[in-house]
């Protein structure tokens, strides 16, 4: 399988990604995954521009899983940016096997109960279960904003906050 890195990040393609992560991973194809974003014509036009020259696709969960597991997809060095943990889980359930999974940014969602986990990550209590399901698929979920961050065990942190 060809997914070098899966990042859960609701900011999608932004400064931290293009200035630090793409180099570290050595990706030649960024795939942004979220059903809603994939239907937004402005995002579809803008995100490839923000990627500064790296081939970029903006796909629904189904489309992304289909491409990544295809013969063509297997030849790419893919960085997946899943907007939400549910997008990441959707990919795993459809047979995508990233080498590593990291939580980048998850911002507060207004009008919902949010629990702050780190400076860059807030989650709704109901999402804790989604992260656990990801981890149960055999992943050590880290939380690094930058590649140089030491990162930690995200599931352990959720347990410390009594979310699991």
């Amino acid at each position: 399988m060809s997914v070098e890195h899966l990042r859960i990040d609701n900011r999608l393609i932004h400064g931290q990604v293009t200035a630090s992560w793409t180099n570290k991973i050595g990706t030649d194809h960024i795939i942004v995954v979220n059903d809603k974003v994939a239907q937004d014509p402005i995002q579809k036009k803008m995100l490839p521009r923000a990627a500064r020259g790296i081939e970029t696709s903006v796909l629904s969960v189904d489309e992304a899983a289909e491409y990544i597991t295809s013969e063509k997809g297997k030849k790419d060095k893919i960085m997946v940016i899943a907007k939400l943990p549910s997008d990441a889980l959707g990919l795993l359930e459809k047979g995508v096997e990233p080498k590593e999974i990291n939580v980048g940014n998850q911002a507060l969602v207004s009008g919902e109960e949010n629990i702050k986990i780190t400076k860059s990550i807030s989650i709704m209590p109901k999402q804790a279960e989604v992260y656990k399901k990801i981890s149960d698929k055999g992943y050590n979920l880290t939380y690094k904003v930058m590649p140089s961050d030491s990162g930690g065990d995200f599931i352990k942190t959720l347990k410390e906050k009594d979310l699991l």
Binding site: R11, H14, I42, M46, A50, A107, S122
Partner: protein
């Protein structure tokens, strides 16, 4: 007068505005909007949209963003694509000389395209390697 909104990561926008005003004094029709680590990008975009509409007086709005491809610039790019007002543009990678010149220049023109073409010149001139100067 053309309105200016500075946007950026962390304290960049407030810092740049504060620094510019330290040199040319307090200014009208200029605002700073900051994206902090916990801020939601969609909400940042909403706030920016409100600011643009609030400040626009038909001469248009110029948004100065810290870096191309960053979340603040992406939000501005989105609003540009949405065409939320008739005259609007976004420049990225802004610095101090550019900001000061743009603030001053808008007193002599209400033409957004002219302001932007000037901006390009100023920006290129502002980068200097001092050891290479005569």
């Amino acid at each position: 007068m053309i309105g200016i909104i500075i946007i950026g990561h962390g304290n960049f926008a407030d810092g740049l505005l504060g620094a510019a005003e330290m040199i040319i004094g307090k200014q009208k029709k200029i605002k700073a909007l900051s994206l902090m680590p916990t801020d939601n990008p969609e909400e940042f975009r909403k706030k920016l949209k409100e600011k643009v509409k609030e400040m626009n007086d038909n001469n248009g709005i110029l948004i100065l963003a810290d870096m191309f491809g960053g979340t603040p610039a992406n939000a501005a790019n989105y609003l540009l694509e949405e065409k939320i007002i008739e005259k609007m543009d976004v420049v990225t990678g802004v610095n101090m000389p550019l900001t000061i010149e743009l603030i001053n220049l808008r007193h002599s023109t209400n033409e957004l395209s002219l302001l932007i073409s000037e901006a390009k010149k100023i920006f290129n001139e502002s980068f200097k390697i001092l050891s290479e100067l005569d």
